[in-house]
């Protein structure tokens, strides 16, 4: 592909898009598929034919729109009319009324403006608006322009500087400065160098990376290619869980399309830069998302983390310098190059720029996939975007950061969302999971539930995580069944501290967070369990124990 061809193609696609008066975006992501999204898509296409409006109305199969509670969700442009719980019958009605008669079907519209009001979509800029399986759709919205710009008008060093100036931090959870990481890999001696996109999102209730891959795979590929150019790599891997079949399929097709168009492969945009991407599937272990475990898994070994240093930047895949970035981090890169680091760093807070995607779940009225500027408060996320807890219920806690994220109480809801504040409060940014709990949840039982997850997912390499977490789980399990005493609480804290500080990798180092934060903010519930043998939420001491997060 030549630079002019890209411009020509984009123009042609934009014109084609404009020739339609309406565009119906049917969400066909993993959230809407089980609710019959594909049947709805077919129904829309049939209806458009039936009413003979094919010339003016385009029906697109898109990725996630964000409002997972409305599945199947449909977005009609122009005007961004969002229809909820669409069925094939309703699809016909929408075409008849909205498209043909020009009257949006009010009864089916999602009336909640607040869900979108505080959101800012940078990473999810195209999700729900383009067909992930059509590379032309991505090109029409400016896709691969950033790659073109990088390859033809910027030096690798310049790309790194731009990313560094933007202040972008790793979105996989640890929050390491992306520009700095790129610089380390670029400067590391050794060749070849590798780029790995981490899509091994395994946390219960987290689906941000998956949705991104299903809805906008080319944003990831473009980000990878730019990163590869910057650090001097010619080979990239996307490490994706095999439990994400739709993401795998979408990425496979996207890679094929990008290769056939010449955005991947030899001499991209007629420059000397070549870059190829391969998919690697995980075999089901949560810990495989840890950056050193990914290396082992891609090499074909057991996905066990190893101590750092050496960091992957120095010694990664097959001992070569390797850049490991989360897919959300990479999807930010094209926008940064196109709009500039200054624009990016103006979003969010001073020390934490840009946006963050969150999977908002649990006891909230509007669950779904959201993207918010850094520095937004938890209260805004839970009560404005999320619409608060269901009627008649009282907010109790919010867990930020996936299974090893801490639980924060009401009094900390005004905490701004950024890496530092969250860590200080005992939570983590993690993979971007936000789980809201109301007064029906028992905090001891909830801590037990997440500890059990980590026990199951521990790789077994280091003593604190393997043996320590199991013991922690046993003690918590005892609490929910009326065993234990107040003295045990300090033992639990002592054990948690050991696991947190002595574990080899991030899994063990963060796994005690649910227990530690519930002990810190909801100690009275523990005391009620061990002293009075009473569960304030009425969950525990029943036969079969508590139910965890429902």
């Amino acid at each position: 592909m030549k630079p002019d061809e890209l411009r020509g193609l984009a123009q042609k696609e934009q014109e084609a898009r404009k020739s339609y008066r309406f565009r119906i975006n049917v969400c066909c992501s993993s959230g809407c598929m089980p609710f019959g999204a594909l049947r709805v898509l077919t129904a829309f296409r049939d209806a458009v034919r039936e009413f003979k409006v094919e010339e003016e109305c385009y029906v697109a199969r898109t990725g996630c729109i964000g409002t997972c509670s409305l599945a199947p969700a449909v977005l009609v442009e122009p005007g961004d009319y969002l229809y909820q719980n669409v069925t094939p019958e309703r699809a016909r009605e929408i075409v008849k009324e909205h498209i043909v008669n020009g009257r949006p079907v009010k009864s089916m519209l999602y009336g909640n403006e607040a869900f979108f009001k505080k959101q800012l979509r940078v990473v999810l800029r195209n999700t729900g608006k383009i067909d992930p399986l059509r590379i032309e759709d991505y090109i029409a919205v400016g896709g691969y322009y950033a790659l073109l710009k990088a390859l033809t008008r910027m030096t690798p060093q310049g790309v790194i500087e731009e990313v560094a100036l933007s202040g972008l931090k790793g979105r996989g959870g640890a929050g390491f400065l992306t520009g700095l990481k790129w610089r380390y890999v670029a400067r590391a001696p050794g060749s070849p160098k590798y780029v790995i996109a981490n899509l091994d999102e395994g946390d219960p209730g987290v689906f941000a990376n998956r949705t991104l891959a299903e809805a906008d795979p080319h944003a990831i590929l473009e980000g990878m290619a730019i990163a590869a150019y910057a650090v001097g790599s010619q080979k990239g891997y996307i490490y994706v869980r095999s439990e994400y079949p739709l993401a795998v399929q979408t990425l496979k097709k996207a890679i094929e399309a990008a290769k056939s168009m010449g955005f991947l492969g030899e001499n991209i945009f007629e420059t000397s830069f070549s870059f190829d991407v391969e998919l690697r599937l995980g075999a089901g272990a949560f810990v495989a998302g840890e950056e050193t475990a990914i290396l082992a898994s891609i090499e074909g070994r057991r996905a066990m983390p190893r101590p750092r240093p050496p960091y992957p930047a120095q010694s990664g895949l097959w001992g070569k310098p390797t850049l490991v970035n989360n897919v959300e981090t990479l999807a930010n890169v094209p926008v940064i190059l196109l709009k500039g680091s200054e624009w990016f760093s103006s979003i969010g807070s001073k020390n934490c720029t840009g946006t963050k995607c969150f999977s908002l779940t649990g006891k909230v009225n509007n669950p779904g996939l959201i993207e918010v500027p850094m520095g937004i408060t938890l209260r805004e996320v839970v009560f404005e975007i999320g619409g608060g807890v269901p009627p008649g219920r009282r907010f109790k806690a919010v867990q930020v950061g996936g299974p090893s994220g801490g639980f924060l109480p009401e009094q900390l809801l005004d905490l701004p969302i950024d890496y530092e504040s969250l860590t200080k409060a005992g939570a983590i940014m993690g993979s971007g999971g936000i789980v809201v709990l109301d007064d029906t949840s028992c905090m001891v039982d909830t801590a037990k539930f997440f500890t059990e997850f980590c026990v199951d997912e521990s790789c077994g390499k280091c003593t604190p995580c393997r043996a320590g977490l199991h013991k922690l789980f046993k003690i918590l399990d005892g609490f929910t069944r009326g065993e234990g005493s107040v003295e045990d609480l300090s033992k639990v804290e002592d054990l948690c501290e050991f696991i947190k500080e002595a574990s080899l990798c991030g899994l063990g180092q963060t796994a005690p967070n649910p227990t530690l934060t519930t002990l810190r903010y909801f100690r009275d519930e523990y005391v009620a369990h061990v002293m009075d043998k009473r569960c304030p939420a009425g969950k525990c001491f029943r036969s079969g124990g508590g139910g965890g997060v429902e």
Partner: protein
């Protein structure tokens, strides 16, 4: 020649070679650091967490068996915090599977037992697990009791790196991890095992042992490093 690196360990100035681990530098200078999964002559694993040290300027703890030395590094191998954590590590290993010294073949020559004594582990703060793995007595010369295994993977590493066979490896994960022969075959029926016995010589506890031999003869921790030394000398 690699260039010399100066660092301090426990307040003492020492000189190490570039690329050397903290543990090696400490040992060369007669500074003792407790170890368990570490085995001289094979690659480091960094799993048991006994050899953890503090490095000034970092809140993290580092496994000294795998962390390379760096110029000007200030290492602390002993502190109240480290002692506390090492004790936890030994306690948890003892509680993880039914380690009962009085009925163990390794009694008296067991490294875990020795560490427990050394670190003052006189009781367990957590409940013990009573795993019920079958003891593998199918091999004519050796025996394997998974109930005594501490998953240090020394046997796996000697089998792979010294004998060059890789008969042994781990199966499953987390607390269910188990050292297995081939694809979880009984030892006596393993197709790849050469019956060299290095695994039992490397086992720090009583999980892998030679049938009917005094333990002092079986537990030859130095055997592996001796072999490696002889090989690298050629």
């Amino acid at each position: 020649m690699s260039k010399p690196i100066e660092l301090t360990i426990d307040g003492r100035k020492v000189v190490a070679e570039e690329g050397e681990t903290i543990l090696k530098a400490a040992k060369k200078n007669g500074i003792y650091v407790p170890t368990l999964c570490y085995l001289e002559g094979v690659s480091s694993f960094g799993g048991c967490r006994l050899c953890m040290v503090e490095i000034k300027g970092s809140p993290r703890l580092f496994a000294s068996c795998i962390t390379p030395v760096a110029e000007g590094m200030e290492v602390l191998t002993d502190s109240e915090r480290l002692r506390r954590y090492r004790k936890w590590a030994v306690e948890l290993l003892l509680a993880e599977r039914p380690h009962v010294c009085s009925v163990c073949v390794a009694n008296g020559s067991c490294e875990l037992q020795q560490l427990a004594t050394e670190l003052g582990v006189d009781h367990l703060r957590v409940d013990r697990e009573w795993t019920d793995y079958e003891v593998d007595l199918t091999h004519e010369r050796f025996a394997y009791d998974p109930n005594r295994c501490i998953l240090c993977t020394r046997c796996i590493r000697v089998c792979d790196e010294v004998e060059g066979v890789h008969t042994l490896d781990l199966m499953l994960r987390g607390k269910n991890s188990k050292v297995v022969f081939d694809l979880d075959e009984n030892w006596g029926f393993s197709q790849s095992c050469t019956s060299c016995g290095k695994c039992s010589a490397a086992c720090p506890v009583g999980a892998l042992y030679v049938k009917g031999k005094p333990l002092s003869e079986v537990k030859k921790k130095d055997l592996v490093s001796f072999i490696m030394e002889r090989r690298s000398g050629k």
